[in-house]
Symmetry: C2
Subunit: 158 residues, 2 copies
DNA sequence: GAAATATGGTCAACCTGATTGACCATGTCA
DNA sequence: TGACATGGTCAATCAGGTTGACCATATTTC
């Protein structure tokens, strides 16, 4: 009798992974429906970070994403090629570059926010507003407890 | 005024990702504490699948994980080298191989189950038993609604 | 100030986990 | 029995990351 069949304790982390995956799939399906190219999740995290930190450099971004500066640099170059990000000269440090979202980048982020809200709304329809509220509160509580004042690591999952 | 600051609708999917990540980190920390080598998440999914489907072949596994049979084959070879999985001749199909967990594989799975339960218990201590129960119910409801009778795809996240 | 050191960024080589494509051996079906 | 389908392997390639060396500019220390 395997102790690892469906029910029982320890299921929640697995379910979290499944739901996370399902919602990500949902998001990408909505994106595809609109005919938009699917940027990878790491790009979304980059957008969010740049929008929130307009004076960020590549090194900052790398630290935030939990990857090396080389990897971050490559990602930024890609986003720049696609017109989502600009690299401007840093006003005081001639070595550094200021990373900023272009209008196109902001547009994409706004769209993504809308789509995530749609996904969330769908979740709400399935589980009901009460459970949705509880879910949100539980997640926030856990995140606050885990990271406290520290910056929440937005690193991609594994 | 960026529409993508912290609060607001659409946050839940992001929070799910963060919590999932935090719990995975927690799991790996506990594993490391015991001095156990950290198999990758895909290995965990493989173990679970093999435990639940004792007559599985490499192709079955690949389909379940959502990867190519070549990739699955490589992963199985690795797990076999480490002594977690055996490849036995298939009783009726000379092309195929039966994948089975070794005792060592079952051990690891049991340990993983225990650690995930610990992680879950910790979550329960943080958010309280009521919210934990609601969370679990909400996740299960959403999963059932999304996948219904179909097999839940255990594919790694992105 | 000048020398030593730290830091932002790039280039290049490499690793890993996946992919596609070709192929063989066995199974299944007409 | 011949045609096609399927389980598995080998080989080449790709993507996204890593480490290491390096340059130019900042910052610290004497």
């Amino acid at each position: 009798m395997p102790s690892h069949s469906h029910p029982g304790p320890g299921q929640i982390p697995l379910q979290l992974a499944v739901v996370h995956r399902a919602m990500t799939d949902d998001f990408h399906a909505r994106l595809a429906e609109l005919g938009r190219e699917p940027l990878r999740p790491a790009h979304g995290y980059t957008f969010r970070y740049l929008a929130a930190h307009p004076a960020a450099t590549t090194v900052d971004l790398a630290a935030h994403l939990g990857i090396t500066k080389q990897a971050a640099s490559k990602a930024v170059a890609e986003l720049q090629d696609w017109g989502y990000v600009e690299r401007l000269p840093h006003p005081t440090d001639k070595r550094a570059q200021l990373l900023t979202l272009t209008e196109r980048g902001h547009d994409y982020l706004r769209l993504a926010d809308k789509l995530w809200a749609d996904v969330e709304r769908h979740l709400g329809e399935v589980i009901g507003p009460d459970q949705l509220a509880t879910l949100s509160r539980a997640l926030r509580t856990y995140i606050d407890h885990t990271y406290g004042d520290q910056a929440v690591p937005f690193r991609p999952v594994w």
